[in-house]
C-alpha cells in the first residue's frame, strides 16, 4: 500500500513540497541545459613567436574568465577556451595584443606573431605539434644566445651617433666595447643586451634626471622605483615643493648597432616596459654576434625614452621629449666619454 500513499501525497497537495520542487526544476533545467550548451570548451595548443623566434614568457589571458598561461621556452602554451573567446597576449617587450578566436568546433593549433600582431589557427593535429608546424618561424642560431628586442617603440627623441666615434671598430664586439666604456665613464651600470636584425641593442638602466636632461646625483639617479622627485633638502627646494607640484623626470637610453632598418611601432610604452627592457636584457654581447664585422653600413642609433612622474599621479611616457636627443647624450656625458 505504499505506492497509493505516495501518489496521494504528490497529486492531492499541489501547493506542497512536491510542486515547489517541480517549479524549481522548471527554473533550473533551462539554465542547466543552456550552460551545458554554451560551456563547450576546446583546447588551444598555442605557439607564440616574434621576429622569427619562439617567444617564452608571454602571458596569455582569456579575457572572459581571466584564466591564463605563460609560454614555455619553445613559445608554447595550452589553454581551455570557449568558442570566440578573446585571448590577450602580453610580453614586456611588445605591445599587448588581442586575438579573437573563431567559432570553434574542435581543438586548434594556434600561432601568433606578437611583433606583427598576426595570428592564425588550424584544426588540431598531433603531428603539427611534433613537427613544429607551419607557419614555421626560421630560428636564427645567433638569437639563441640572447633575447630578441622585438619591435622598437617610437622614442621621445633619437640621435644617429657620429661615425667618427667608431672609426677603430672593426667588429660589433669592438663597437660594443666603445659604447660600454663610454657608459661606464658616464656612471651607468652594465647595460642589458638584445639581439636585433643586423646587430644588437644595448639598454641602459632607467635614470632620474632634471628637466633639462642633467642626471640627478646618486643615489637619486638610479632609484629603485619611480618617484615624483628625489630632491636634496634645502630651503629653496622646500619652498618650491611647498607651493608647486613636484615632478620626477626619467629616461632610458637604448643604443642600436645595426646595418638594417629597425622594425618600429608607434604604440606608447610605459615605465614598467622600460624597466623590463633593462632587467631582461642579456648580461654581455655573445661572441657569435660580437665577431660579426662592423661595416661602414652599420649605424649606432641612440633612442631616448623620457617619462615624467607628477607628484600625484602615475608616470607617463613623453612622446615629445623635453630636450633633443643630442642634449641628452651631452648632459649624460656619453658624448664626452666617446670623444675621449
Amino acid at each position: 500500500m505504499a505506492t497509493p500513499y505516495l501518489s496521494m501525497n504528490v497529486f492531492t497537495n499541489p501547493i506542497g513540497c512536491s510542486s515547489t520542487r517541480f517549479a524549481y526544476l522548471l527554473w533550473v533545467l533551462p539554465l542547466l541545459l543552456s550552460s551545458s550548451v554554451n560551456a563547450q570548451t576546446y583546447m588551444v595548443w598555442g605557439k607564440v613567436y616574434a621576429n622569427h623566434m619562439w617567444l617564452p614568457g608571454v602571458k596569455v589571458v582569456i579575457n572572459r574568465s581571466g584564466q591564463e598561461a605563460v609560454t614555455d621556452e619553445h613559445g608554447e602554451f595550452k589553454l581551455s577556451v570557449l568558442s570566440q573567446d578573446t585571448l590577450k597576449l602580453m610580453h614586456p617587450n611588445f605591445p599587448t595584443r588581442d586575438y579573437i578566436l573563431p567559432v570553434l568546433t574542435n581543438a586548434i593549433n594556434f600561432y601568433f606573431d606578437v611583433a606583427t600582431n598576426n595570428g592564425s589557427w588550424k584544426n588540431y593535429r598531433e603531428e603539427d605539434r611534433k613537427d613544429d608546424p607551419s607557419p614555421q618561424p626560421s630560428i636564427d642560431e645567433k638569437q639563441k644566445s640572447m633575447p630578441s628586442f622585438g619591435v622598437v617603440p617610437a622614442p621621445s627623441s633619437k640621435v644617429v651617433l657620429d661615425a667618427r666615434f667608431f672609426v677603430n671598430a672593426n667588429t660589433l664586439a669592438q663597437a660594443d666595447q666603445r659604447l660600454n666604456a663610454a657608459l661606464k665613464k658616464s656612471g651607468y651600470p652594465d647595460p642589458g643586451y638584445y639581439y636585433i636584425p643586423g646587430g644588437f641593442a644595448m639598454v641602459g638602466q632607467i635614470e632620474q634626471t632634471e628637466r633639462d636632461g642633467t642626471p640627478k646625483p646618486q643615489p637619486a639617479r638610479f632609484p629603485p622605483r619611480l618617484e615624483g622627485t628625489s630632491a636634496q633638502f634645502n630651503l629653496s627646494s622646500y619652498l618650491q615643493m611647498l607651493y608647486k607640484a613636484t615632478t620626477g623626470y626619467y629616461r632610458v637610453i637604448i643604443f642600436f648597432v645595426t646595418n638594417r632598418p629597425l622594425d618600429k611601432s608607434v604604440e606608447p610604452i610605459n615605465p614598467e616596459m622600460a624597466k623590463a627592457w633593462y632587467l631582461r636584457g642579456g648580461d654581455f654581447l655573445p661572441s657569435d654576434i660580437g665577431k660579426q664585422a662592423f661595416t661602414k653600413d652599420h649605424r649606432v642609433l641612440a633612442y631616448i625614452y623620457e617619462f615624467e612622474k607628477p607628484e600625484n599621479s602615475k608616470a607617463r611616457f613623453l612622446s615629445q621629449g623635453n630636450c633633443l636627443g643630442q642634449v641628452h647624450l651631452s648632459k649624460s656625458k656619453i658624448i664626452d666619454s666617446l670623444t675621449r
Binding site: E227, G228, S230, A231, F233, Y238, M241, L242, Y243, K244, A245, T246, P310, E311, N312, S313
Partner: protein, 150 residues
C-alpha cells in the same frame, strides 16, 4: 573692571578676529598653492578638505558676535580671563596644527614619496578631534546664556 575678568563681547571679538586672521592666512596659502598648481586636478578636493576646518566655526563666531553687538543690554556679561586665554591658546594651537600639516607635506614627500594631498588626508581624523575640543571651548564664549560674571 576686575583684572581677572573680561567682558564677553571683547572676548568674542578677539577670538573671532584671531580665528578670522588664521582663516585668511590659510586661504592665502591655499590660493598660492593653487596658483603654483600644487595639486593638479585636485584643487576642489583640497578645498573641500580644509574648508570644514575653518569656515563653519568662523561663520558661527561672526554670527554670534554680530548678534551680541546688536544687543541693547547695558549690563555686559563678563567671563573669566583665564578661560579666555585658554580659548585663545586653543585656537592658536589648532591652527598651528593645520599649518604644521600643510608645511610638513614637502618633508613627507622627500622622505617617503607621499603626495601632498595624501599627506593632508592622513591628518583628517586627528584634526577633526582637535577641532571638536576647540569648538567645545569656544562654545563657552559664544553659545552660553548671558548670566553675568562667570
Amino acid at each position: 573692571m576686575n583684572e581677572t575678568t573680561i567682558t564677553r563681547q571683547v572676548a568674542q571679538r578677539n577670538l573671532t578676529l584671531t580665528w578670522t586672521g588664521f582663516t585668511i592666512l590659510l586661504t592665502l596659502v591655499y590660493f598660492v598653492q593653487t596658483v603654483g598648481n600644487k595639486y593638479p586636478g585636485q584643487n576642489d578636493e583640497v578645498w573641500d578638505w580644509f574648508s570644514p576646518f575653518a569656515f563653519p566655526t568662523l561663520t558661527l563666531m561672526i554670527g554670534t558676535w554680530v548678534a551680541v553687538n546688536k544687543s541693547t543690554d547695558p549690563e555686559q556679561p563678563k567671563v573669566d580671563k583665564l578661560l579666555y586665554r585658554l580659548a585663545m591658546g586653543a585656537i592658536i594651537v589648532y591652527f598651528l596644527f593645520i599649518f604644521g600639516v600643510i608645511f610638513s607635506a614637502p618633508l613627507a614627500f622627500m622622505s617617503n614619496d607621499t603626495p601632498a594631498f595624501e599627506h593632508l588626508k592622513k591628518f583628517t581624523k586627528p584634526l577633526s578631534a582637535v577641532q571638536a575640543i576647540v569648538t567645545a571651548v569656544l562654545g563657552y564664549f559664544f553659545f552660553r546664556e548671558n548670566k553675568g560674571t562667570s
